[in-house]
């Protein structure tokens, strides 16, 4: 960190020059490893707490349980009147429908903004960008009244239908950026061959946009899976609860005792997100780096 020497000139261009001394490198790694441990420790502790014997949970700060015991999982799974299987299933249904809605509706709108010419395009594009800034609280109450009058409260419709109307403008923006990078010659050639906009969209844009569609799909899934506010407002019947609502109910009902079961179900609820992280982290990280997504 301190050596400012000529070595910087000969350093490989990939790394910022002149910044590597052996000591500095060790210190950096020490700092990074310490930070990593501090960050992951609570997560690992939760996982280990979920397989610990109940009386050991609060007694121990170590990550290694004295005995591995999956009883908490069985207890937690049936800890409420409705089993967690039901909550997981509900979350899965809502998340998958949301993914489909977002990918279909947002790619349609993005194709129009990125490729088609029509009167008012720039105006609508500006409006679309504007909607990204508005906090959802402004539309919350009238939307609730609307869905209440439609008889949709206690169904998944209020959570899912808006996605089929491209309500997540962020994904439109993401896809517009990507579509604009696809060479226009491809559309023009297809047009010469007699393809209309639908076929260009279906046969050229979508197949060439799989990375951005996948990014949008994965983020849709994770955000919906984690969403708490929407289900909290629209789902009142325990049979329709998503996993996040189920966990919250479990916290309230078991504030007395069953931490093991609570941690077991909490751990399980993170598994799908962790799975996406494990297999698609490059896609997720690139998505954030290029667009500056908030999460």
């Amino acid at each position: 960190m301190t050596d400012v020497t000529m070595s910087s000139v000969t350093a490989p261009p990939s790394a910022p020059p002149g910044r590597r001394s052996p000591l500095g490198s060790v210190l950096v790694h020490a700092a990074l490893i310490a930070a990593s441990i501090a960050m992951v420790y609570p997560l690992l502790w939760m996982i280990s707490a979920s397989v610990r014997p109940e009386d050991e949970i609060f007694a121990s700060t170590s990550l290694w349980p004295s005995a591995v015991d999956f009883a908490s999982y069985a207890r937690g799974w049936f800890g409420l009147d409705v089993s967690f299987g039901r909550f997981f299933w509900n979350s899965l249904v809502v998340s998958v429908l949301t993914v489909i809605g977002n990918v279909v509706a947002c790619s349609l709108a993005a194709y129009a903004f990125a490729r088609l010419r029509f009167a008012g395009r720039n105006f609508w594009f500006a409006i679309m960008l504007g909607t990204m800034m508005i906090p959802y609280h402004v539309t919350l109450i009238p939307q609730y009244v609307l869905f209440l009058n439609l008889g949709w409260v206690n169904t998944f419709l209020p959570l899912v239908v808006p996605k089929f109307l491209a309500s997540d403008a962020f994904f439109i923006f993401l896809m517009v950026q990507f579509f604009r990078g696809i060479p226009r010659e491809l559309d023009e050639a297809a047009m010469m061959d007699g393809c209309g906009p639908w076929r260009i969209y279906w046969k050229i844009m979508l197949p060439l946009s799989l990375p951005v569609l996948a990014t949008a799909a994965i983020f849709s899934f994770i955000w919906t899976w984690d969403d708490f506010f929407g289900p909290l407002i629209y789902l009142n019947d325990m049979n329709s609860y998503t996993i996040q609502l189920g966990l919250r109910t479990f916290v309230d009902s078991s504030s007395t005792s069953d931490w093991g079961g609570l941690f077991a179900m909490s751990t399980l609820s993170l598994v799908p997100v962790f799975f996406f992280f494990l297999f698609f982290q490059r896609l997720l990280i690139e998505g954030i780096a290029t667009t500056g997504m908030k999460r």
Partner: protein, 318 residues
Amino acid sequence: MAAVQDSAVAIGAGASERPAAQGRWAGLWTRHGAGYMFLLPWLVGFFGLTLGPAVASLYLSFTSFDLIRAPEWVGTANYVRIATADPKFAAAMQVTFLYVVLSVPFKLSFALLVALLLDRGVKGLTFYRALFYLPSLLGGSVAIAVLWRQLFAGDGLINSLLAQFGIEGPSWISHPSYSIWTLVVLSVWQFGSPMIIFLAGLRQIPTDMYEAASLDGASKFRQFYKITLPLLTPVIFFNAVVQTIDAFKAFTPAFIISGGTGGPINSTLFYTLYLYQEAFGNFRMGYASALAWILVLIIGLFTAFSFLTSRYWVHYDD
């Protein structure tokens, strides 16, 4: 759909062969209709779920409305009460601003610091980057809020760790002076996504600037202040705006950690939590609408202020 394809063919084959009137309609359709067809779902959503409701909520904010009886016009009474006679509103504002002012700078400083460390070409960059990003993905979930509630409880993990050093910690979540800090720590823990954006920004800075500077004998600190920091200001600005807006809208952790109350003594009563209580706890929909519009106003003012001041400290290439 068929018409679109026909006219697309016509463009290729020579539109002049078509009858004039039909050609004009087909041309108009090709020019505008297809665009609006693709835009249709979004347009329906925009009018039905965004613009319409926004106008409706502005109207509701001047009414008294409990979902059962029709909204009753009360003029500016809601706003007047918010501004003059609502101690809970004042508490919520105070808590929310405190949260924003504490969590955003800490989170961004930490993100920048780690990004700078990682940008030095350390081995295992992708591993660290992924690991640090993980909490950002998980952090919004109820599970993590539940975990946090245990970590900072009186007999929680943090106090068990402190006890090993002979320190007896308080019950962080149930003490009004500390409870907000548990939420700040939770926010800082999720520093991964701004860190990734910082890293991408650092990559954009040309290395030959550093080479030239170090040839001229500029120290590392000087290089940081004269090259890295100025060139990174657009990214810092972006991260600061996004994170601040996000912090104003935070909800889930405060809800779970306080059990939906915003307690103890309103110390975690985030603005959105108060809005939720008014709307869906007390069914004061008109009042909650007014609260929502004030939130919009605050976020709008903040964003406008950021952009206005940005010209004085954000470095743009020209």
